[in-house]
């Protein structure tokens, strides 16, 4: 039996090369200092080993110049490494604009993923090569961490908020997906695969599988079922702000602050509506905590995203009022 002994991980993404270059540079730097120290130790240990005729060695007072030198030189090298590392970190943290989003919910002990098209996966993620993929992640219970060694990316998935990780696969292949944050009994079983595919194969895969409605359509159904539309429509007497074209836009809050309506803001506004009230509106929205789970929230967000995703120049489709369900009639 030939033992399988990999010594370096495969590079499956564009970022992997950048991280590896940085890593190998610091390994080189470390080797230099480790060899410097150990060869000096060895040389001194041999050259100045005790001989029977030794007299007490003359004392050597330190040298300020030397002390400063071995503070300043490592400091310069450390700062250079810091800057390089920060630069790579920026790139790992800033997804490009043209990403494809996949929603991820961590749950003890599985990864539940859903593509905007509606296709769901568990512990597997299919992605096309050459397209930047952004994962919008949360957790239903404890902290998990989404880790794909071949892509050199990792980010925690936390309960109660969204976190993001992105990558661009460059090579078709099947890569390990690990949970890297300890999450209980089956932590080491919360693993899976990322399948990077050629774009055509990916499209074929996405179209295959069981027929499912898109996340946006599922979100629209929820939007109606939960009665959101009763207030969030232009004819509601402005109880709630209009939501079409909201995602990605600038929002002015009653507190005077402004923000960009991202996924985290939308999630918070559904579950904790009083946290950030839009300027000009009363804090009358009830919370939907307990009425909609994390996956439902993600669908609602996909629906809101779809309201801005029309063709350039084409007006975004209106949020169409449907018959509100009787149990959630707006308060007079």
């Amino acid at each position: 039996m030939r033992p399988d002994l990999p010594l370096f991980p495969v590079q499956g993404s564009a970022e992997a090369g950048q991280v590896d270059l940085l890593f190998l540079a610091t390994v080189g730097l470390s080797l230099f200092f480790a060899l410097l120290v150990s060869s000096l130790l060895l040389a001194f240990a041999i050259k100045y080993r005790r001989r029977p005729t030794d007299k007490p060695p003359a004392p050597i007072q330190g040298s300020h110049a030397l002390e400063i030198a071995w503070m300043v030189v490592p400091l310069i090298l450390a700062m250079a490494t810091f800057v390089w590392g920060a630069d790579v970190y920026f790139r790992l943290n800033r997804p490009p604009d043209d990403t494809m989003t996949v929603n991820v919910v961590g749950k003890r002990w599985m990864w539940k993923l859903q593509h905007p098209s509606g296709r769901r996966e568990i512990n597997e993620l299919h992605v096309p090569v050459g397209t930047p993929v952004r994962l919008n992640m949360t957790s239903e219970d404890v902290i998990h961490s989404f880790f794909v060694p071949a892509f050199r990316v990792k980010a925690d998935a936390l309960p109660g908020r969204y976190t993001t990780v992105w990558f661009k696969a460059t090579r078709p292949g099947r890569y390990h997906l690990f949970c890297a944050e300890y999450c209980g009994t089956q932590h080491s079983g919360m693993i899976g695969w990322v399948e990077a595919m050629e774009p055509e194969a990916f499209q074929a895969w996405l179209a295959g599988g069981p027929a499912e409605v898109s996340m946006a359509a599922a979100g629209e159904r929820l939007f109606n079922d939960l009665g959101c539309v009763a207030c969030h429509n232009p004819n509601s007497g402005a109880r709630g702000p209009r939501l079409d074209r909201l995602y990605g836009s600038q929002v002015k809050l009653a507190s005077g602050e402004g923000l960009i309506a991202d996924e985290a803001y939308l999630r918070e506004s559904i579950l904790y509506p009083a946290a950030k009230v839009t300027a000009g509106y009363q804090p009358v929205m009830p919370t939907f905590r307990g009425l909609v789970n994390e996956e439902g929230v993600l669908e609602l967000i996909e629906y809101l995203k779809s309201r801005v995703a029309g063709q350039a120049g084409e007006p975004a489709p209106e949020l169409r009022p449907a018959a509100p369900p009787p149990e959630r009639k707006p308060q007079p």
Partner: protein, 541 residues
């Protein structure tokens, strides 16, 4: 100075179990601590052995997943809180701080004894809860897993750590007051042995950091028992807040572990090269610099925990800065050897081991401080390897080196030199075989705390387990001969290594009051140019 064992000394001045359990002599309390931490080391070591045995094969086939999770958790808790943190300060520090500064005892002998009782109370409480069910969160107790989801004995174990924290605080307080108020006439701050500077810096960290851990444990217990929402988002809390609190103590705790070992290294390297320390003020100040900077880097544990990019930058740059005082120490120790007269008794072998392993641990620490690299290796075996190079390669090497160096003073007997050198060598080889493959495993992507793992990681794991068995043998040998030689070893002279320092100017073992007459200090530490080199084979243990 007498080369004969004195008729009465601290070990035989009184007999019986009560004379030990109610002693206020810092030297006896040091030995009590030695017994306690050695026991905890054996417990923690047994857990380590079980971890390595499970990881021999990719499948999780030796223990159930829940059992394995408890084992690695307890390995961490026992080793960190009950061995590494108290180890050098409570044993060597307790014994040596008063002796090195020419004092009769610590400032508060009763508090010192109380500290030992608190330690044992916490340790026994923790061990009891291991027996009746254990705890499975990892030693880091991350929320909301620890407060809401796990079903194991979180609160009792955390309470054990809480109580033990107070034993640390009392020891730190005692050291600070003692070092300020009880130095012998003439022993100015810049004549202090660097062991004292290291313990002073350590005590400052203990006093400032440990209360934060205590508060964090209280918040954890309040959330778990009364569902007050501090950390669990379902209760309105913030899980990352816990990580901030936890690491605000637990990162400086790493310096609580390593600084005393650095103090030991300064004492040994000077003695066995017959040289003054190179750059005394820089070595002394670097201890304080490490203590200060150590409080400002906790966020480097959270580079992938949703912390902002800006916070990541700040914590990264501060973490890089810690490297400078650490490098200053390594360079000065190396320079101390220059033009020395170097001999290679067991304590010195541990110094060489320390310098090599700590250097690797420190340099890989820089890789982890580097944001772009940390994202990939965070929570993998790379981290595990790195902190074992610091804590085991650094702290334990320093601890064993110090234990051998001062053993003739503590016991009045010489340890067997041949066995000493052999075990130091075995430990060095075993250590590297255990932990070096873990750097490679980590960069390959093997996450830590995995009960089962993909097959391609097996060869490196087998190497690691093989190394651990060698390491285990290396640790057992000194345990046997150090105990053996207390009764049957050759009688030691009061200063078998020909070392400077007040602790060597009193008989071995010392009398209860340490010094027959109060010493007076007239020169700097490490005046090795003024005393003869001990003759060939003077140390013939």
């Amino acid at each position: 100075m007498s080369d004969r064992t004195p008729a009465t000394h601290y070990l035989n001045v009184s007999y019986g179990i009560r004379s030990w359990l109610f002693t206020r002599d810092h030297k006896r309390i040091a030995l009590l601590y030695l017994a306690s931490v050695t026991l905890m080391f054996l417990v923690g070591g047994s857990f380590a052995a079980m971890v390595r045995l499970e990881l021999l094969t990719p499948a999780g086939d030796l223990f159930q997943a829940d059992t394995y999770n408890k084992i690695f958790t307890l390995h961490g808790i026992v080793m960190v809180f009950f061995f590494l943190i108290p180890g050098i300060p409570a044993v060597l520090g307790n014994f040596l701080v008063p002796m090195m500064i020419g004092a009769k005892d610590l400032a508060f002998p009763r508090l010192n004894l109380l500290s030992w009782y608190l330690f044992n109370l916490g340790a026994l409480f923790t061990l009891f809860n291991i027996v009746i069910g254990g705890v499975d969160t990892g030693w880091t107790f991350y929320t909301p897993y620890s407060t809401t989801w796990t079903t194991t004995n979180i609160v009792p174990v955390a309470l054990g750590i809480f109580v033990t924290g107070f034993s640390s605080i009392l020891t730190g307080l005692n050291f600070i007051v003692t070092i300020h108020k009880m130095r012998a006439p003439g022993l100015t701050w810049f004549r202090l042995p660097l062991f004292i500077w290291a313990h002073y810096a350590t005590s400052v960290i203990i006093m400032l950091g440990t209360p934060v851990l205590a508060i964090t444990i209280v918040l954890l217990a309040l959330e778990r028992v009364f569902h007050l929402g501090f950390f669990d988002p379902a209760l309105g809390g913030d899980p990352v807040l816990f990580q901030h609190f936890f690491w605000f103590y637990s990162h400086p705790a790493v310096y609580i572990m390593i600084l005393p070992a650095m103090g030991v290294i300064s004492e040994i390297v000077t003695c066995f090269s017959r040289k003054r320390i190179y750059g005394y003020p820089f070595v002394a100040a670097s201890s304080l610099a490490i203590a200060l900077l150590g409080f400002l880097v906790w966020g480097h544990h959270m580079f992938v925990s949703s912390q902002s990019v800006f916070a990541g930058l700040v914590f990264s740059v501060l973490s890089f800065l810690v490297a400078i005082p650490s490098a200053v120490k390594v360079f000065n120790w190396t320079a101390t050897l220059y033009k020395g007269s170097i001999s290679f008794e067991t304590p010195m072998l541990y110094v060489f081991g320390f310098l090599g392993l700590f250097t690797i641990g420190g340099l890989t620490g820089l890789m982890l401080a580097c944001l772009g690299i940390d994202v990939h290796v965070h929570d993998t075996y790379f981290i595990v390897a790195h902190f074992h190079y610091i804590m085991v390669g650094g702290t334990v090497m320093g601890y064993l080196g110090g234990l051998h160096f001062w053993w003739p003073k503590i016991s009045g007997r010489l340890y067997p030199e041949g066995w000493g050198r052999l075990s130091a060598l075995i430990i060095f080889v075993g250590f590297n075989l255990t932990f070096f493959p873990q750097f490679i495993l980590g960069y390959l992507g093997m996450p830590r705390r995995y009960h089962a793992y993909p097959e391609e990681f097996q060869v490196l794991n087998v190497m690691s387990t093989a190394g651990a068995s060698i390491l285990g043998v290396g640790y057992l040998i000194p345990l046997v001969y150090l105990v053996w030689c207390m009764r049957d070893g050759k009688v030691a002279s009061s200063n078998p290594f020909g070392a400077t320092g007040l602790e060597w100017q009193t008989p071995a073992p010392p009398p209860t009051e340490n010094f027959p007459s109060p010493p007076r200090v007239t020169e700097e530490a490490y005046a090795y140019d003024k005393i003869p080199i001990p003759g060939g084979g003077a140390y013939a243990g």
